[in-house]
Each structure stands twice: as structure tokens, then as C-alpha cells.
């Protein structure tokens, strides 16, 4: 009897402590979306990212700590377009949190909000890591980020309607600053137009689409497969015929293949931040684009 009462008190205590923290608990799958959620929610949300800039968002394990986080989340903000298909569905199945299941208000997919590039006509695994719903790496096009921001803000308002005014003013603020930044970025990125750049993986397609950079090859022989010596030799051959300005890769990718090709061809190997936390001073989406452009402009004449 006494024990039952203790249990009841404990459960009530847990319930109360949850009620007192009125902030929306946001579980972002990637740092860029955690950053966007923070920008749009401010002090009304608590956002954590499941991954860091040093981790490959394709290859994450459905770890116990992540299940525990999804269990407590009010909103999942994920990339979607199958980027997290190797781990997110397992987290959702195991966490027993109905608020954040696909189709619910607590599940937001960024890529779903915008038009995607590279939707294949047919998908076959012999083609490597190809996503049927197109290239998922949408966050490196700032025009698309703006659309996603507005959709995410609406989602926050629908989940927390009593603070609609707060979210609206933060979105207006974000949009205003983003548009200013976008003009600036487009202005300074002018010299990048038509530049040829070799990539590691297809994560830069949206950035290149926006800046009109030409993809001069990929270190991966097929998406998701590691670089091989034979493939590097072929790349070198084609780069001899038509040179490129840079070989770009990011933190979660092994720099060796890029450095090797750089030695073979004399083309600069360049680490780009890719996401928030991916470089010195890259603390939000604004500095992500600032730094990316800065580094590209250093090697592109």
C-alpha cells in the first residue's frame, strides 16, 4: 500500500516535471536542422541533434541514447528523402512515442518541403547508393532553406499555437536576415559560376545548382562506395583533359582519397564545412554559407 502511494507520487512527480518545462522538445536528425529549429523557436524550444558534422548521416546506429531522445521528443526535424532510412524508422518503432511517427504533426521532413534534384528514372543497387526520392542533401541551397524555414515555422505554430506570435516574428526576422545574406552570397559567389569542382559524394549538388558550379567528377565510383585506385586513375585522366579548380570533401569523409587525387593532379583538395559545426566558426546556417563561400573563393580564381 505504502509502496503504491510512493509510485503514484513518483509518477505524478514525473508528470509535473514534464509539465513545468513547457518548451518544445525538438529532436533534429542533423545539425543543420537543429540550428534552423533553434533560429525559429528561440527560447521556446530545446533542440538537440542526433548527429554531428563528424558523422555520416547515412550511417548512424539506432543507439539506446537516441531511442531515449526520440521517446521524449515533441517534434522530429529530419532531412527525409530516405537519408535516415537506415536508422530513423528503427528509432521511431522502438521509442513508443506516437507524436513523432510519420504522418503526425510531430514529424517534419525538410526535403519533403522542396523540389529535389536527381530523382532517378530507375533505381538499381548496381548504381550504388541512389535514393528513389532524389538527392536528399537539400540544405546547401539557401533558397530551399528559406522554404523549409517557413514550413517548419508553421509546424511549430501548429504544435504550440499559444505562441504563434513568437514563432511568426522569429520567422520574419530570420527571413529578413536570410534574404539579405542571400543577396550578399550571390554577389560574392559570382566568380564561382561555371567553375569545375570534383566532389567526394553527391552532397554538393544543391550548392552547385544554386551557384552554377559544374561537377567535374566524384571520388566515389558510385554513390556510397569508397574510392578505389582504379577509379582515381580514371578521374585523373579526365581531369588532365579538362581540369578542375578544387576537390571538395567534408569532415565525416576520409580526406585521403581527395589528397591523393590532389597529388596526382595538382588540384587543391578543400575541406568544406557541409553542416553546422563542420568548421571553425561555423555555428549556424549563416556562418555555414559564409564559410563555404569563403573557402571556395580561396581556390577558385
Amino acid at each position: 500500500m505504502k509502496r503504491t502511494r510512493c509510485l503514484v507520487l513518483l509518477v505524478m512527480g514525473l508528470g509535473l516535471s514534464q509539465a513545468s518545462s513547457a518548451r518544445l522538445n525538438v529532436f533534429a536528425c542533423e545539425p543543420e536542422w537543429a540550428s534552423l529549429a533553434k533560429a525559429l523557436g528561440g527560447e521556446l524550444i530545446a533542440a538537440t541533434s542526433a548527429t554531428t558534422a563528424r558523422q555520416d548521416p547515412h550511417r548512424i546506429e539506432a543507439r539506446p541514447s537516441l531511442i531515449a531522445k526520440v521517446r521524449r521528443a515533441d517534434l522530429l526535424v529530419c532531412n527525409g528523402a530516405e537519408l535516415e532510412i537506415g536508422w530513423l524508422p528503427m528509432l521511431q518503432r522502438q521509442a513508443g512515442n506516437r507524436k513523432v511517427l510519420p504522418g503526425q504533426a510531430g514529424y517534419f521532413e525538410a526535403a519533403e518541403q522542396v523540389e529535389r534534384l536527381g530523382i532517378p528514372e530507375k533505381v538499381d543497387r548496381s548504381m550504388g547508393d541512389v535514393h528513389a526520392s532524389g538527392n536528399p542533401h537539400v540544405h546547401l541551397d539557401p533558397r530551399r532553406v528559406l522554404k523549409i524555414a517557413s514550413a517548419l515555422s508553421e509546424r511549430l505554430m501548429s504544435l504550440d499555437p499559444s505562441n504563434t506570435g513568437h514563432y511568426r516574428s522569429r520567422l520574419d526576422d530570420f527571413t529578413h536576415h536570410w534574404q539579405q545574406a542571400l543577396e550578399r552570397w550571390q554577389r560574392i559567389a559570382e566568380p564561382l559560376k561555371g567553375a569545375r569542382v570534383v566532389v567526394y559524394h553527391q552532397d554538393w549538388d544543391y550548392l552547385f545548382d544554386w551557384l552554377q558550379i559544374v561537377k567535374a567528377g566524384s571520388l566515389e565510383p558510385k554513390p556510397g562506395l569508397p574510392a578505389t585506385a582504379g577509379h582515381l586513375a580514371k578521374l585523373r585522366q579526365s581531369l588532365m583533359e579538362e581540369p578542375a579548380s578544387a576537390i571538395v570533401y567534408t569532415r565525416y569523409q576520409n580526406p585521403k582519397a581527395a589528397q591523393r587525387l590532389s597529388q596526382l593532379t595538382g588540384i587543391a583538395a578543400l575541406e568544406l564545412p557541409y553542416t553546422v559545426g563542420g568548421g571553425e566558426g561555423v555555428t549556424d546556417l549563416f556562418s555555414l554559407f559564409d564559410e563555404t563561400l569563403k573557402r571556395l573563393l580561396q581556390v577558385v580564381p
Binding site: L14, Q18, T51, T52, R54, Q55, D56, H58, R59, E61, A62, R63, P64, S65, I67, A68, R71, R72, A81, E82, L83, I85, G86, W87, L88, P89, M90, Q92, R93, Q94, A95, G96, N97, R98, K99, L101, G103, K122, V123, D124, R125, G128, D129, V130, H131, A132, S133, G224, L225, P226, Y252, Q253, N254
Partner: protein
């Protein structure tokens, strides 16, 4: 990284359904995948396999010699609707020249009860232990640890109901229980009106910084057993006798897994350490069923236990090496030592041991080739076992458990 491929379309046509159309353009419904597993085994010993002190059942054994197929599975799964998820795994295997289809798993699971609650019903792998819930194709070695072989006949699965709850805490905490039919090995007889077995489990886990993740589990299983048959001690003379056990059985276990990858990025290098310990207590009666009206029998009070420790290191992308050590022990007593011995319960003063070395290469996430060597001291005469294995997966392949 995962994507839906044309094989799924082909399969769905074979299955005569048009359900494999892209739902929301995000994948086929249902998800269909096929696991292909083939092996080549070489042994030194010609004698039949046994594990002294343990009554073997289920799929326990060292497998066939030479070329043979392993676990070839067809898996179909999908969200049934907004509340239920369903999955079926069918294993297609040859047994003595005939192709048999076995329902390995067929269950439904709730998705949207909320509050951390999930209910699962049907045939499923029990959540006890760490390895038990994982499909053999995601094991790091070609075969089960000896303690799984000895206690569970490789893996514990049954028909029944499972309820689990994940706490809303910072540290992962999951509590659960199962009540099941109790007909399959290591239970038997489907006692208590077809709900003769049950289990309880707790799992706790978390991260240490960005590079390390861990999980500890505690589990308990028990059953009322009526006439559980198993392979006895092999001897050349005499009529075939099948030992049958009736009584109660309790298994308790603890499992631990720790994974490391630099900055949590397992693409280049990663290390996994895993260990499990189980102990079983049984008290009842063993009858040697020889078809006669007056079979020999003995009382039986037994304790069998064992553990394994394994580590797998991915030193460069695609390549991994692994080392596993297994050890078992038993202490079985009864009124008639000769009968106990015939039932395979006399450990003959032997403590089974095994050391296994593994190396594998995964060309992509969907294909793996493995070479494994084991020095197997399961019984008196040590055996050298060499295994070559391929495991490939076609179709939409779902996420793996931690």
C-alpha cells in the same frame, strides 16, 4: 543510402500483387527483402556433434559439412496502418532432400500506443539477451555462441505476446515482459493451456561522449515443460532413444555491449565489444523414450551456464576482423547417472570451450563475404572448423538494431 530497387517490383509481381507501388514516392509498401546465405564448412572430426552436459534442441549443431545453404530468408514488412506494424520472415531450407518453408517470425506490433508502450503479438524472437533478437544475417560470426546453442537451440523464439515500455528518461531504460506458448525448444509441451513460458527483461543504455555507446541488459525466462525432446548422447549400439524432459526451467542472463567509433563515425574504423552470460536451472524428470511402455527414467536437477566474449574491429572501410571466446559449464544430478548420461546430461568432466577467429569483407552494405576459423572444444576431441560464408541482401533492407 537505402533505396527501393526493381527487385522489389519483380517480387511483388511474382507475389501477384500490385502493392509495391511507391507510397508517397518514398518506398514500396510492403518492404520486401531477400537474404541469401551460403556456406562451405570443413571439419576435422567425423563424429556427431554434441555438447556434454546440455540437451541439444532447436537448430543446435555445427551445420553440414561441405557446401550448403544457410539462412535464406524472405522478409516482408510494413506499417499495416497508423496503429500497427507487421512483419513476416520465411526461411526456405532443404531438409533431407525436401524444400521446406518455415515461418521464422510473423508478428504485429503497435506503433502508436504512446507513453513509451509497445505491444507485440505473434511469433517473434524473444527480447532476452543481446544477440537473441538479431537475425543471424546480422551476427558478426557465422554461428551462434555456444551458450545460445546449448540453452536455446541457437535462438529463443516463440508464439505469444510481448509488452515493453521505454521510460521518458535521459538514460535509455526499457522494461518488458513476454508470455508465450512454450512449445518450442527450450520449452516444450505448451503447458498451462498454451501459455507455458514467460520472460522479463530490462535494458539500460547510453552514450559516453560522441565516440562510445553502451547497453546492459538483464533477462529472465522460465517455463513449465512437458516432454521436451532433444538429441541424446550418441552411441552406436542399442535402439534409438529420445530423451524427454518434464519439469520447470529458469534461465537468467546478463548481457553487455559497447561500441566505439572515432567521433561516432563508423565509416572508417569501429570497435565492438560484446559479452553475455546465462545460467539455467532445471528440476524435474527425464525419461528415455524408446517406444516401450516402461522406459528408463531419472530425476534430474541441473544447472548449466556459460558465457562468451567477442570483439569485432573494423580497421579500414569494408574490412573487419573478430575474435570470440566461448565457455560453458554444467552440474547435473539425478537418481540414475546412466540415464542422465544417455540423455546427454553427463558432462563427462568436460567444460566446452571454443575460440573463433573471423575476417569479413563487405563490398557494400548489402554484401558480405566471411572467412571463419574455430578451434572447437565442445566435446572431448577438439575440432578445427573452417567456414566460408556469403550473406547478401536484396530489396529494401530495413534498419538494424543497435
Amino acid at each position: 543510402m537505402y533505396f527501393r530497387i526493381s527487385i522489389a517490383t519483380a517480387l511483388s509481381l511474382v507475389l501477384g500483387s500490385a502493392t509495391a507501388v511507391a507510397a508517397k514516392g518514398e518506398g514500396f509498401n510492403p518492404a520486401i527483402s531477400l537474404i541469401l546465405d551460403g556456406r562451405f564448412n570443413a571439419y576435422d572430426n567425423e563424429t556427431d556433434y554434441e555438447l556434454p552436459g546440455f540437451m541439444l534442441g532447436g537448430e543446435a549443431g555445427r551445420g553440414e559439412e561441405g557446401f550448403h545453404l544457410g539462412h535464406n530468408e524472405l522478409v516482408i514488412s510494413a506499417n499495416v496502418d497508423d496503429l500497427f506494424y507487421g512483419k513476416m520472415t520465411a526461411v526456405v531450407a532443404d531438409h533431407e532432400g525436401e524444400t521446406e518453408v518455415e515461418l521464422e517470425e510473423a508478428f504485429i506490433e503497435t506503433l502508436a500506443l504512446g507513453s513509451g508502450l509497445t505491444v507485440k503479438g505473434g511469433r517473434f524472437f524473444s527480447a532476452i539477451g543481446y544477440l537473441n533478437q538479431q537475425h543471424p544475417h546480422s551476427w558478426d560470426f557465422a554461428d551462434a555462441p555456444l551458450i545460445y546453442r546449448g540453452l536455446f537451440g541457437d535462438q529463443l523464439r516463440d508464439d505469444g505476446l510481448q509488452v515493453s515500455w521505454v521510460a521518458a528518461t535521459e538514460t535509455y531504460l526499457k522494461l518488458g515482459g513476454e508470455i508465450t506458448r512454450g512449445e518450442r525448444f527450450p520449452a516444450g509441451g505448451a503447458s498451462r493451456g498454451g501459455k507455458g513460458a514467460g520472460s522479463l527483461f530490462v535494458k539500460i543504455g547510453g552514450d559516453i561522449g560522441a565516440s562510445q555507446a553502451w547497453q546492459i541488459g538483464f533477462s529472465h525466462w522460465q517455463a513449465d515443460i512437458e516432454d521436451r525432446t532433444s538429441a541424446g548422447h550418441h552411441h552406436d549400439s542399442g535402439a534409438a532413444e529420445v530423451p524427454a524432459y518434464s519439469g520447470d526451467s529458469r534461465i537468467s542472463g546478463i548481457d553487455f555491449v559497447w561500441k566505439w567509433a572515432p567521433d561516432g563515425n563508423a565509416g572508417e574504423r569501429s570497435l565492438k565489444l560484446q559479452a553475455e552470460y546465462f545460467i539455467r536451472d532445471e528440476a524435474g524428470r527425464v525419461i528415455m523414450d524408446d517406444g516401450s511402455d516402461t522406459p528408463e527414467s531419472t530425476t534430474y536437477d541441473g544447472e548449466q551456464k556459460g558465457w562468451y566474449l567477442q570483439t569485432v574491429y573494423q580497421f579500414i572501410p569494408r574490412w573487419r576482423v573478430g575474435l570470440r571466446y566461448d565457455r560453458l559449464d554444467s552440474d547435473n544430478r539425478g537418481s540414475d547417472g546412466a540415464v542422465l548420461s544417455e540423455a546427454g546430461l553427463d558432462n563427462e568432466g568436460h567444460t566446452p570451450e571454443r575460440v573463433t577467429l573471423m575476417g569479413d569483407y563487405a563490398h557494400s552494405e548489402y554484401s558480405r563475404l566471411r572467412l571463419q576459423y574455430a578451434k572447437d572444444d565442445s566435446y572431448e576431441e577438439a575440432d578445427n572448423i573452417l567456414t566460408l560464408q556469403y550473406i547478401m541482401s536484396l530489396g529494401s533492407h530495413g534498419a538494424h538494431r543497435f
